[in-house]
Subunit: 462 residues, 2 copies
Amino acid sequence: MSDSAHLSAARFLECANDTFGDRLMTAKSAIANYTHGEGHYSGYSPDVVFQPRTIQDVQTVVAKATECALPITAYGAGTSLEGNAAAVHGGICLDFSRMAKIIEVSAEDLMCVVEPGVTREQLNDDIRATGLFFPVDPGANASLGGMIATRASGTTTVRYGSMRDNVLGLKVVLADGSLISTGSRARKSASGYDLTHLFTGSEGTLGFIVEASLKLHGQPDKILSATWDFVTIEDAVNTVIATIQSGIPIARMELLDDTAIRACNAKSALGLPEKPMLFLEFHGSDASVTDQLEQVRAIGDNYGGGALNFATETESRNALWRARHQALWAARALVPNSVAWISDVCVPISHLATAISQAKLAIDASDLVAPILGHVGDGNFHVFFILHPDDVTGWEKARIINNAMIEHALSVGGTCTGEHGIGIGKRDALLQEHGPRSVGVMRQIKTALDPQNLLNPGKIFF
Amino acid sequence: MSDSAHLSAARFLECANDTFGDRLMTAKSAIANYTHGEGHYSGYSPDVVFQPRTIQDVQTVVAKATECALPITAYGAGTSLEGNAAAVHGGICLDFSRMAKIIEVSAEDLMCVVEPGVTREQLNDDIRATGLFFPVDPGANASLGGMIATRASGTTTVRYGSMRDNVLGLKVVLADGSLISTGSRARKSASGYDLTHLFTGSEGTLGFIVEASLKLHGQPDKILSATWDFVTIEDAVNTVIATIQSGIPIARMELLDDTAIRACNAKSALGLPEKPMLFLEFHGSDASVTDQLEQVRAIGDNYGGGALNFATETESRNALWRARHQALWAARALVPNSVAWISDVCVPISHLATAISQAKLAIDASDLVAPILGHVGDGNFHVFFILHPDDVTGWEKARIINNAMIEHALSVGGTCTGEHGIGIGKRDALLQEHGPRSVGVMRQIKTALDPQNLLNPGKIFF
């Protein structure tokens, strides 16, 4: 951190001390909790950590920070993967974990209003008895504010959409500390610029999400999960492609390659064959689930799929998805003292087989431990590069494979990130994907709303 | 138009003449075609009309217009209802009707790429043989560029979403004539600010849409349409509310009140009972359509619904929806030499009965001819105020009812426009809905991208 940043922090502490006193945490031990996400970025430290409890808290602290020209970075559950919440220029870390109230659940309007620190599991536990659920499931038990900020998606997006599709409206604190509302509680609107979607995915660089209205969905009458092994990864992916092209409303369609299965077996004792597998889930009425299942089975049979292994009971189903959600930790256990560098491309569905095959070939040709997992129904997949921090050659190999994946995705009209965001690591790729004039428009918006570049500086843009 | 605007137009004609010559239309007879939409706004004239044939045409003419500080307003199929395409400050009208090519249809990626002048019917006629369709259906045979610009929706939005949900990416010409791409062909992305959604619904005030990638959907195996009469409008609306709350994936759920039915009977010889009616459509497999139908029928039976009158054949189904789509013209035929002022509120579904009942009471208490129609599955409905242009008292009564509808919608968390946009007529309501700071953010974005306020000036903002 530069000297001027230190000066700003000192000034801020002085002028905010009267208002917040002890609540401004500066001890090294407190700050250490905010120096890393779940990805491989670490070592960035804020100067001050503040846990707002109210919207007014956020407004006050942001206004004071702006006065002192001090950077402000929001922090949710610490599950981001592209360094999205790293305080790369120091300053204040706004930890939203104390703003974690579910403000309202409206079963009659199929929606809820939450504070940003509410996690997706907390919300679903809370609303279970209403017969509703919130579908977006990135795996990690992320905060909803963070999920909105990174435009997250996950295992159920193929059926229920991503955060983009499930946010009705927001309250946002702007750089000057003022508060705005976006969107409404109506299902659609043509009322002015779509600020809700502008803030969704802006990674805390335009304002801070302090409240969100989210869509809820009815719990399906029947849920059927299954695992399905294939001889080759291409066979599994071709089954996915044909399923999506047929318009079957499958609720989850996840790919795990042989390495990923090996990792999950080791961690979660799944006892699955170490072959490329699909994890499936069907939602609907009894009749509809049977109908979907038979259609998908017929497709997979054409590609040599093995026997479907069903998990109908809630318990076995939960065990399956828990294992999927813990895949990151399972994969990291494959290499002692490792960290994970996780790629995240998304391609039009017809290009998915090529994209995954090319990645798999490159991984096989290297000696990297790098399982492939994906929300393949969306055309989205990840390579988890499991690396020892000191393995310089390994990181370089991963970089080359990751770049090639992005190049390929962009060459077929895909995107450099399906769901993790740009953060620190994909600022080059953003330019490559959209071109300088389009990124220029993003920057014009950033400059208009945050002229001092204090809101999560160093993210999205260089 | 002011003298300075005249001067700008003269300068523009001079400097663009070399490039476009005869293609710059200035004759009164040519311009007269661009002075009105389908709403009640009229009398605004551009100085010059230009029909671009290529993206390069658009870039060149926009750059030259900006140089001369001349306003530029886009024009699609002329079906907008809030004066969205009216050249209120004169200048150039960019008529996109000659950019009407379907550039690509990718059945394997369930998407297409179109020029902005393609109409929704043209697209659906063209792709019928692929087994796919484009669902968004505002009634009018609008241009897709216009539908994106106003964030349009319509009869099928309850199942397939609005334009917001069906645009994958755009090419946009900015105020300086430069061209950007937004979005991608992937189903989801977390790559930078969501410019696609920013331009969708921006009504041509931030840039001109010159190409769009749109989602397509598989044609359902079975389509079943039906009409359904109720004793009171409340019974019909309560049937809708319970259907939506049950999560039944109905494809269309339209309300027509007794006056609307009378109008449609007169124009389209439907022979329906002049009672509040729902027009329904179910999409799916045989089993799923039957399942949905029985669930909805059970709900409506509780509210005293009459017998369902089915239209299973393509021909009778088309006749039914054609009648619905011509409702505006049918309604206008109720009053000789009339124009229509069409309201457009959208409320959370639980408030729909109150919203419609209040509007109906107010209409009945006036002597206005004002049928109510709605995409009620979305919580969205319209009052068509059918007025003689000289009926000053009538317009004042309509204004009071319209304002009360907006007040009520906003008081329950709804929006002042579900699908028609802000245009000229709802600039006050925009402020009322979002508040000055939020509209201020919209304006900051406008100023950043169009500092001279030349792109469709006088819309959205005062």
